[in-house]
Symmetry: C2
Subunit: 319 residues, 2 copies
Amino acid sequence: MVIVPEGMIPGLLTRQASFEAVEKVFAAMASGEAANFPVVREAMPTEDALYGFKGGVAPGILGLKAGGYWPHNLERRGLINHQSTVFLFDPDTGRVKALVGGNYLTALRTAAASSVSIRHLARADAKVLGMVGAGHQATFQMRAALEQRAFEKVIGWNLHPEMLPNLQKVADEAGLPFEAVELPGLRDADVIITITSSFAPTLMADHVSPGTHLACMGTDTKGKQEVEAALLARATVFTDEAAQSVSIGEAQHAVAEGLIAEGDVTPVGAVINGTHPGRTSAEEITLFDGTGVGLQDLAVAASIVETAVADGTATLVPL
Amino acid sequence: MVIVPEGMIPGLLTRQASFEAVEKVFAAMASGEAANFPVVREAMPTEDALYGFKGGVAPGILGLKAGGYWPHNLERRGLINHQSTVFLFDPDTGRVKALVGGNYLTALRTAAASSVSIRHLARADAKVLGMVGAGHQATFQMRAALEQRAFEKVIGWNLHPEMLPNLQKVADEAGLPFEAVELPGLRDADVIITITSSFAPTLMADHVSPGTHLACMGTDTKGKQEVEAALLARATVFTDEAAQSVSIGEAQHAVAEGLIAEGDVTPVGAVINGTHPGRTSAEEITLFDGTGVGLQDLAVAASIVETAVADGTATLVPL
């Protein structure tokens, strides 16, 4: 089998490869060629940890990401708190094929999802990128987003403004001006990414101008919410996986309030496949509810394995 | 991390070690110190395969068995049809700790379960072991069972009598006489193991004498059934995990017919822990419904890792 340790992955995995893997697997999910399995997520008896499995199957890909959140890792042991590992199997035989460190990969596959949505749903002439959230993951989202349109400016808001220099730094790298704004200031954005762990809406419907594309990336649990439910009623809503969007994603609230139905939520893969037209006017608000699915991890891990085997950097262990 | 490939496991794993690991984890499950996670089991789009995950957590143990059944492996590729792999994690940090081949291990942990039930529930003076089923797994069950009492004879029945020499061979190894019987002949047995893939009852209540201990090991899916439901009403029923016993185990039918309730099914771990008296008379029929839980696999895999590290045969891969 092939082993690609966590430490090697930043040197092997590009944003481009993550994008291609995620775009392809979203398309396969929408056409019914790929499916995610029910998610297992359990509270651990020690360390206040959460642990679980996200599995799936797609053409040539089978496996799971296992891991979770150990909130005391950093303070107690100097390890990062999110710990995960991807295991790939041969879909033809059931034999284990590869083990891939899942931490850096998770950051890039999540950024790739919003980036895919921007490629397929944002206006071609988008100029201003708005960021809601300025944590570690926000920087990955922002770098990936900036590659999708000829952005001229980034504006951003964060609950704790002292974290905004994280966004400033990425804007500097890209040679773009960055401006901290209040939430109503996001009306100037053509694309908005929300990437917070909020349990109450932050971005309200009247903070968003016609023609905007939103990628809401922070809500992956019952109870979390980043944007006002009324915004989903005004928008055309897309997602990675509709069943997850309406149960644990951003759409859960709009559906619970009866503002939209599950049938109003379209897999972005249908736009990639051309079976849904996507954006149909310059005034339409499009909203991508990125809930995160196991197949994103598996597809990116499969791409890493391919690269690591091709360039001879993978560890090969006889089984 | 530690890797113990499939091919090394028969040389590392003893029946004794499997027994101790399974007995200990059954006890921990009954005392609430250990828990199995919801099982994921999915039909694959190709190869008519079934694939899934069985995870759990116990003191010092965290992880899952992933794998399943690829029915064309043998004919198409010369590989065995059941393919599984165990992954262990550090419960303190969430980091992956070990990968252990899961095929041989599964046979031994399943045999250990019935063996644990015989140790704790069969009459001390049991002399005749009865086998219903004579496939590959039956030989593992039989070897483990013979170590628990001073058996003097083995009797056996199989739907296809041409497989009975499998049982004869194990009896010969143990220096015991073996006799093929019709089902009513099992009234002579003091301990009966059923290990078939039957979807209709084979062993009827009147094929079983007072004082017998039964270990029903074949039923792990809705619809499967090895023994007449009325037998469970006559017996004191034990299991590995009650919730699984009444939903996918042998007890599903007796519960569906209203003959017993979930509360009548006791985890064998309670007997191991001494919180349930177990058998209370020489006439009582005891029945162990072995449904198979992920923690059996994880506990045995953890024991294998310990042995392989101690004797220097494990493959160590830096992560």
